[in-house]
């Protein structure tokens, strides 16, 4: 998490936050009319961007994703859900680049996210799905807690709505953008100081494991708790009725959300060169 705060010292990273947020918002706004759950979410091809922005621009992509989503909400859906949306969209870009560091067995991880091998594409798909679920978890938990939308319905809709574009559209975008961003020296690892970039290591692996368990545990456990009080997945979740704001869902998904946030702080930092 250190990188998330220290990045603000770099002017280029500040500019990237603004550009990422602007791009994300500009792509979200035209689809505000394609509503899936009024006032809460809509069809979002823009979901292709956060994972790409996270892998390319690291913390700047994560802040850009969170701010961009908030700006998108300014166009007709600013409400209490925007607070959870801010956290969720931050995680949508943050989780993929955090987990990417820990793919592969070597201390170098899986390498650059250039998607030039099947293994890297598979890793991209995995981090996209986990990122999408990490976005859905705090939003669905928060709105269920407030008694507004059932956890199982909202959680499943957001996960699908986020992961499909981030995989189908994100991979070609990444393949085209990566070489150019690298050539322009705009990868976050090229902009940040070396001692502020987390590396693969014991703590990072623990952090990644806790993060993955929190996201999957929070979502799957939350679904199971939600089914227990009569909720259902996707739109059938609205048809099924069920208890919204139940203690079981609040606790299980809440622990998952807390674990997701706590795990962000567990990472290996490089030794400072004297």
């Amino acid at each position: 998490m250190k990188d998330v705060f220290s990045m603000w010292k770099k002017t280029k990273m500040v500019v990237l936050v603004a550009l990422c947020a602007g791009l994300y918002a500009a792509l979200l706004i035209p689809f505000k009319g394609f509503v899936l759950i009024p006032g809460i979410t809509e069809f979002r091809p823009a979901s292709a961007l956060p994972v790409v922005m996270g892998l390319l621009f690291g913390p700047a992509g994560a802040w850009g994703s969170a701010i961009g989503n908030l700006i998108g909400d300014f166009f007709g859906s600013l409400g209490i859900g925007s607070l959870f949306g801010f956290v969720g969209n931050f995680m949508f870009a943050y989780v993929p680049y955090k987990l990417w560091i820990n793919f592969g067995k070597s201390s170098e991880g899986i390498g650059e996210p250039d998607l030039k091998s099947g293994k890297k594409i598979l890793a991209y798909v995995v981090v996209s799905i986990l990122g999408a679920a990490a976005c859905a978890l705090p939003i669905a938990w928060g709105l269920d807690l407030l008694g507004m939308v059932p956890f199982a319905a909202l959680g499943s809709i957001i996960t699908l709505n986020n992961s499909i574009p981030s995989i189908l559209l994100g991979i070609p975008i990444m393949l085209i953008l990566y070489p150019r961003i690298k050539k322009w020296d705009l990868l976050w690892t090229d902009i940040m100081d070396e001692d502020e970039i987390p590396v693969a290591g014991r703590l990072s692996r623990i952090g990644a494991t806790v993060m993955t368990v929190s996201v999957l545990g929070g979502m799957i456990g939350g679904f199971l708790a939600a089914f227990g009080v009569g909720q259902g997945l996707l739109y059938s979740g609205f048809g099924a009725g069920g208890d919204v704001g139940s203690l079981g869902v609040t606790l299980v998904a809440g622990v998952g959300t807390a674990g997701l946030i706590v795990s962000s702080f567990i990472q290996t930092m490089p030794k400072k060169s004297s």
Binding site: V14, L23, I71, L177, W184
Partner: protein
């Protein structure tokens, strides 16, 4: 095309400090979240609308009417089918209709409160308000720059679309999937043209002394005045009344008994 909701008129609410307006918006959210009673939520919505009228911003209701109507219809239909109830007409339950109405009023209350804030507060005022609330200047700068970039990015993509159309790209024919497939490649030049400007943008900022000093002076100075404290006090008093209503069962029950079918506490 004016993409933003800001209404450029003179009004009492426009003259309030952005921090006051931000607090009033969050207080509206809090009251909306606290209750599951149609009557109380409708009273809160009426207060919010009156505040919007004071800010001469209700013309924007027209711009977001589709969202408000969709929220209402969606809630009514979904909850009238989903809500378990014995008293049904075809597949719809009467209890579900009222529950859906309550959810619709609650969601619309928050959306309208958000709309009023954006209709009466300029982007630079929001950014300045965030700085005064101790949000780091650089984060507030990124936020306000991003908002300003949105129309520019939309204009860039529009130019790219027009350029491709003039070269014979047919974007109008085909079904929705085919149209999406045609539009997606057009995202790439937009992304590249925007990101390509990063280096020049940061050099321009640094050449103007961006980040030189933490003590910045601003062209726009905002200051809390008497009317701000009055409005904040009024808002906090309303919240306090709402808390009393929530915790004192005798008062709440008296309210709820006026329209018992609309109470889902």
């Amino acid at each position: 095309m004016d993409m933003f909701l800001y209404v450029d008129v003179e009004s009492f609410v426009h003259r309030l400090d952005p921090r006051t307006k931000l607090l009033l918006m969050f207080l509206s959210f809090a009251v909306g979240v606290m209750f599951n009673n149609i009557l109380i939520l409708t009273a809160a919505l009426a207060l919010v609308v009156a505040y919007g009228a004071l800010g001469r911003s209700l013309s924007n209701l027209k711009r977001i009417r589709v969202v408000l109507v969709m929220i209402t219809l969606f809630s009514l239909v979904i909850w009238s089918i989903a809500r378990p109830s014995g008293n049904r007409f075809l597949v719809f339950s009467v209890d579900g209709v009222l529950y859906g109405l309550m959810i619709a009023v609650k969601t619309n209350l928050m959306i309208v409160a958000g709309m009023i804030f954006l209709s009466t507060t300029k982007i630079e005022e929001i950014a300045q308000g965030l700085v005064k609330l101790k949000i780091p200047y650089r984060a507030a700068f990124a936020f306000s720059t991003a908002i300003r970039l949105v129309p520019m990015i939309v204009a860039t993509s529009y130019t790219i679309i027009q350029a491709q159309k003039s070269r014979g790209l047919d974007l109008d024919s085909g079904n929705l999937i085919e149209k999406i497939r045609k539009y997606v490649p057009l995202m790439i030049p937009t992304l590249i043209s925007v990101i390509r400007g990063t280096n020049i943008f940061s050099m321009a900022l640094e050449s103007k002394g961006f980040g030189y000093s933490d003590d910045r002076s601003n062209l726009l100075e905002i200051r809390m005045g008497g009317k701000d404290y009055a409005m904040m006090t009024a808002g906090l008093l309303i919240l306090a009344a709402a808390v009393v209503l929530k915790v004192d069962h005798s008062i709440y029950d008296a309210w709820a008994s006026i329209f018992p079918w609309g109470d889902f506490a």
